[in-house]
Each structure stands twice: as structure tokens, then as C-alpha cells.
């Protein structure tokens, strides 16, 4: 009993002291940065850069920007992915959202609809910025005619083939058309490959490149109608084609969440083709002590062209400002600056593809032939429908696509149903 009392008292007091020290310390530093440099505006910036990218951000981008804009200080906070959307929701509703955030392109219109983001279209120099960047990534910031962000880096997926299996299938170069891809897959599977075409899952990011290249469409041009597009004869034919591959055993188990995963299957010479972003090369290439050398063991190419040409899906991040920010002007200053040539060049060092057209097309910036293919693919890559209801609509489409792949629903019925539901969600 005495022991318990002592313990509680002891721990209690010591922690109280320690805690007071801590909080005292932290409040000091924050007031110090406010008071010490009189009119300095501190911009809170949440980002999700990776390790290597963060180093460039901290050591090059930040000093450079602060040198050019001595009245602004960047406070960088790296956020984990897990539960990030919840964090933003909590921050926004509590009035404690950061000034700036680099967020996934598909989130922007959702948060814009909520009223959480600042409309950037009216800021000084906006049109110049808009014209300097690629059109498709820019379009992901659009909500009801206004832009709520600017694209800070972009990416897409290209086709990556296992060299050994490709050779076994009798190809020395990446297939250029869907027919060639199917042919190569058939031969590879016959030669013992576990999978020909490794579609990463039954969700839009994974299957859209095939759907689009095979001629499918999602909506009309201004993203207001799914009916007649998502279930057009071309779209139905595209899904039927993928379903046929699945039936013929050409598609890897990954499409239904099976193992081995795409990277695993590629590493172990089990899958003929996967599709992935530039991180496939940067992450696996930087791995110390790994026997797998992605650039040597694989052959890359554009997504094979079908009736819809060669089309892939756009990923990447946009830079947004929150509506609650006290320093929208300064935040815009940073966003605008971040899209200029020099910072774009710096981030490209870490393998991020610039959105600034000039920078991206400068052969000096992107010398790596693989990254050049990504830039090439971007010319025809499409964004996932940039509407605020996308998460919900996507869930509907994914579910029906999965049902088709499992043979539980035929393509026409699945797409008709999805188009109807998607349109009714759009009305909300």
C-alpha cells in the first residue's frame, strides 16, 4: 500500500515537473519565432514527401524560398498516410488546418465541395501559373468552375515487363498494342508464368489504363454524366475484353487481391507485365543489397495501345490552401513559386515528375530514359473523374468491376447499373 502511494506520488510529481518543463519549452519556441522576427509570417505546410524527397525539401527548397522571401517562414510537417483524411477533417473542423497542404489529386474537389479550401483562381498571376503547367493535372483542381489548387508534381503508370518472360514469349521489345500484349501473355502463361497481365486490383487506379486504352470512357467531357459513357458500347466492349483475359487465365491473381503482389511477381519472374509509377524504379533501385535490379530485369513501355490509343491514369499531388488560413496571400506566393522552374527542377532530382511544362520538357532535367517514358505517357494520361463524389462513385464502379471479373455479373449489366448509380450520386 505504501509502495503504491509512494509510486503514485513520486511518478506524479516528477512527471508534472517534467511536463511543465516540456510545455514551457515548446511555448517559448513558438513565441520566440513569432516575436523574434517581427513581421515574419509562418506558413504551416503539411506534406507527405518520402524520405529522399523530404531531404530536398528541407535542405534545398526551404532555404531557397526563404532567401527569396525573407518575410515568410515555412514550417514543414510531414504527415503519415494512415488516417490522413481524418486529420484534415479534424483540422478543418477545429479551425486548425495548416495554411498549405500537398494532397492527393483526387481529394481536392471533395474538400473544395466541403468548403475547406481556398479558391485560387482570383489570385494575382494565377492564369500564368495555369498556362505553365500540364492541362490534365491542372484539371484535377477544378470544382464548379473554380480552381482550388495547383498541381505540384504529377505521375502516371506505364507498362513494365519482366525481361526473362518477355523473351520466353518471343518478344525482344515491349508490346505496343493490346493484341501483342495478349499474344505475349498467352505465350508467357504457356511457358509457365503465373500471370500475364498483372492488373493491380479491382479498383479504378488499377484497371483504368486498360479500360481507357481498350476504348472505354467514364463521362462526358465536363464530367457531368456517366450514363451513355460509362456504359457506352465501347466501354462495355473494353470491360468484356478484360473479362475475357481473366477467363483465359491471362490476368494475374492480383486483380482480385491475390498474391504474389505485382512487385513480388515481377521480382520472382512470375508475372509478364505489371503497370506502375516511377516509384517502382526509384524505390526498388535504391534498395541496398537487393539482388533485383529493376532497370536491368525489366523492359518498360507505354501502356499498349488499343481502340482507345495508349492511355494511362494520372496520379500526383496538388498544392492547396485552406479556407481558414490567415495568410492566403503568402500561401499563394509559395504555391506559385513552387511551380516555377527552379523548385520543380530540384524536386525532379528525387524522381518527381514536374508539372511545369517547360521544366518537364527540358532534356537536361529528365535524362533517365525510363522517366522520359513517363513524361511521354502523361501526354495521353487522363485524370480519374474530378468530381467531389468520386470516392463514392468509385466504390460503386469498383464493386461492379470486381463482380464482372469474378463472373458474377456481365459487363453490360454491371456498367448500366454503375452508370445509373454514379449519376444519382452526382446529383447530391
Amino acid at each position: 500500500m505504501k509502495l503504491l502511494n509512494k509510486l503514485i506520488a513520486g511518478v506524479g510529481i516528477s512527471t508534472l515537473l517534467f511536463a511543465t518543463g516540456c510545455t514551457g519549452g515548446s511555448s517559448e519556441t513558438s513565441s520566440g519565432s513569432d516575436g523574434g522576427s517581427k513581421d515574419k509570417v509562418v506558413l504551416d505546410y503539411w506534406h507527405t514527401y518520402s524520405d529522399q524527397e523530404e531531404i530536398i525539401l528541407n535542405e534545398k527548397i526551404k532555404p531557397l524560398f526563404e532567401k527569396e522571401h525573407p518575410n515568410i517562414e515555412l514550417k514543414l510537417t510531414r504527415m503519415p498516410y494512415e488516417g490522413l483524411k481524418q486529420q484534415v477533417v479534424a483540422g478543418v473542423s477545429g479551425g486548425e488546418a495548416p495554411d498549405l497542404m500537398r494532397m492527393d489529386i483526387v481529394w481536392v474537389s471533395e474538400f473544395a465541395k466541403m468548403g475547406a479550401l481556398q479558391d485560387l483562381s482570383g489570385f494575382e498571376g494565377f492564369d500564368e501559373v495555369k498556362n505553365s503547367v500540364f492541362e490534365s493535372p491542372m484539371a484535377t483542381n477544378l470544382y464548379e468552375g473554380k480552381y482550388y489548387g495547383v498541381p505540384v508534381n504529377t505521375n502516371t503508370k506505364i507498362a513494365i515487363y519482366n525481361k526473362e518472360l518477355l523473351e520466353k514469349a518471343g518478344y525482344s521489345e515491349a508490346p505496343e498494342t493490346m493484341e501483342q500484349l495478349v499474344d505475349a501473355s498467352e505465350k508467357a502463361v504457356k511457358a509457365g508464368a503465373k500471370g500475364g497481365i498483372a492488373i493491380g486490383g479491382s479498383f479504378s487506379w488499377a484497371f483504368l489504363p486498360y479500360f481507357w486504352s481498350l476504348g472505354g470512357t467514364m463521362t462526358n467531357e465536363d464530367y457531368t454524366k456517366f450514363d451513355g459513357y460509362l456504359n457506352s458500347p465501347e466501354s462495355i466492349a473494353a470491360v468484356e475484353e478484360i473479362a475475357k483475359w481473366q477467363k483465359d487465365g491471362l490476368v494475374a491473381p492480383t486483380v482480385l487481391g491475390g498474391e504474389p503482389g505485382t512487385w513480388d511477381g515481377m521480382k520472382n519472374n512470375e508475372y509478364l507485365m505489371i503497370d506502375d509509377g516511377p516509384w517502382f524504379y526509384s524505390i526498388l533501385g535504391n534498395e541496398e543489397g537487393s539482388k533485383f535490379k529493376p532497370e536491368e530485369a525489366t523492359v518498360s513501355g507505354l501502356i499498349p495501345a488499343g481502340p482507345g490509343g495508349s492511355s494511362s491514369v494520372i496520379g500526383g499531388e496538388n498544392l492547396v490552401t485552406f479556407a481558414g488560413s490567415e495568410h492566403p496571400e503568402e500561401a499563394w506566393t509559395f504555391a506559385k513559386w513552387m511551380l516555377t522552374d527552379e523548385p520543380q527542377r530540384l524536386m525532379a532530382e528525387a524522381g518527381l515528375i514536374p508539372t511545369n511544362k517547360e521544366t518537364a520538357n527540358d532534356p537536361e532535367v529528365i535524362q533517365n530514359p525510363i522517366v522520359q517514358k513517363y513524361v511521354k505517357q502523361l501526354e495521353t494520361a487522363l485524370p480519374r473523374t474530378p468530381v467531389p463524389q468520386w470516392s463514392e462513385i468509385e466504390a460503386v464502379i469498383n464493386l461492379n468491376f470486381e463482380k464482372v471479373m469474378r463472373g458474377e455479373m456481365d459487363a453490360k449489366k454491371a456498367l448500366d447499373d454503375a452508370a445509373k448509380k454514379a449519376d444519382s450520386l452526382l446529383q447530391q
Binding site: 483524411k85 478543418v92 479551425g95 466541403m114 491473381p253 487481391g257 498474391e259 466504390a395 464493386l399
Partner: protein, 327 residues
Amino acid sequence: MLPKVKNESDHNQQPVMTPKQKEPKKPKPSKFMKGLKQWMQVFPFLFLGLTGASVFVIYPLIKGIVMSFQDYNIMPGAESPFVGLENYAKAFSDPAFRYAVRNTFLNTVVTVPINWFLGLFFAVLINIQFVKYKITFRTLYYLPIITSWIVVAFLFRYLFADGDNGLINYLLVQVGIIEEPISWLQNQWTAMIVIWLFHIWKTVGWTVVIYLAALQGIPKELYEAASIDGANGLKAFRFVTIPMLGPITAFVIINLVMGAFNIFPQVYFITNGGPMGQTEVLQSMIYKQAFNNFNFGYSSALGVMMGLTIFLITLTQQKKLGKQRFM
């Protein structure tokens, strides 16, 4: 130090819920004064806990309930119009809701009894006098509880990977129990089994720990008395241990039911509702409605319905809690 065996009679307190039969004639003010006096007495002890609970638990709860009748907008200062029962009605036309309800109930029906039995079973075994390395056993049984949900969820997805790359398939094939690897997570019922197994694996240690603490509280004298009466071993267990564990069992069952209803990382990180939404549960639906779809009102309505259900299901156990007089 040890609590002595105590007889039932002398409680100076009565559960308030039981009506006091002999008081109706007393004038109201005095009853009020009595209540006030009682509150004055308890206040210094209750004050902090009540404040904490009111501010951080009850207030958000009330807000949540209100939210469930609104088309809620989280923006500060934004308008959130009341929509009556619309959010509640929406659930019943939502096909995902049917799966979620079915799976949540199934999970409760399957895991609660198993969890309860295994927890009690292992606690009793560890508590047997001749068993050595008690601390080691307890610690190792407790390991799953203290590991991050997210990490062990991924660990399980990895163990139950399909093909022969998952440890479970690998072992089963090696031992010869199955010939072909099972696609655990790609089929509805095998995926459910993985979710249940994971849930039990992760939480059984909690039941063990609670029952061990409760077993420790049983006075040795009771066993001695039983032994004099000729009851040993299983008999002593039947006539001493089980009745003595009665009240804590109510606590355990309520918690297990709540845990089974709140199953979330088990589903969200292992199958994410798949295949084809067939393993979705209420909690993962609540989460997705709030943070994927920003339907905060609908999400809250689902939460309120779930809370009411748990409350009703555990009502009989709750009554037992009120009468915790077991020594």
C-alpha cells in the same frame, strides 16, 4: 490484506434503481434534501471523473446524436440542416448495410463465446497452483494485445496470403492437411474465418488477464472451506470458482460484445470489406461513410443504431452489474 469472506446482509447502500418501498409517505422536500446531502458527500470524489466524462465523452456523444438527425457539415460556422430520420431511413435501403449488419452479428455470435471460453480456460490453467512460469505464460499470452492493430492486421494478411507464399498455406500444404493452397482472403467465408481468427487471437489475452485478476481476488479461505466439505479439483471449481467469477463475467461479456461490434481494423486492413463488399461490418461502414464519403450525418446515425443495439443486447448482463455483491 486479504478480503475476508463476507456475508450478504450488511450493505449500507441499496441500488438506487430498486424502488424504496417504505418511503412514499415522506414529504418531497426532505427526499430532495437527502439527495442533495448525498450528492454533497460524493461530490469531492465524483467531481473530477464526472467533469472529464462530461466534457470528453458525454458532450461529444450528444453532439453525435444530434448530428445523426442532420445533414452535417463539419466546416466551422456552416449550416447543418435537420433532416429528421432521413439518415436512419437511408440505412435500410443501403445494400452495404445488410452485409454490415449480418457480418457484425455473425462476428459477435462466433467470437464472443469462443473468446470468453478460451479466456477463462487459459486463465484457470495458468492460475493452477502447480503451474510454473506463470509470468512468462501471462506475458506471452498478452503479447497480441499490446501490438499495434494496424501492424498485426498486415501481419495476418501476410500470413494468410493466398498461393503458397503465405505461412498458413505453406504450413498446411507441408503438413499435408490441404493439397492446394487456399485463397483465404478472396472468398467470402474463408475471409470471414480469417477475420474471426484474427479477432480472437488479438483479444483473447485481454479476457485471460481480466480473469486472472479476478481469480486472484478469490479468497483462499473459500477453497479451504470447500476442501473441508470434500470438494476438490473440478468440484471446487464448480462450486467456488464459477460463482465467484459471476459478476466479473458480466463485465467481460459486455466488453466482449462491445469489442465484437467494434471490429474495425480486423476488416478494414485485412479485406477492406472485400470480396465484393461481403465482409463489410458496421464499424468499417461507419468509418468509410464519414471519411471517404463525408456523409457525417449518415455515419453518426449508423453509430447511434449500433450503440442502441449493443445496449439492448447487453441489458440482461447490465442488470447483473448493478447487483455486484458477491462476497
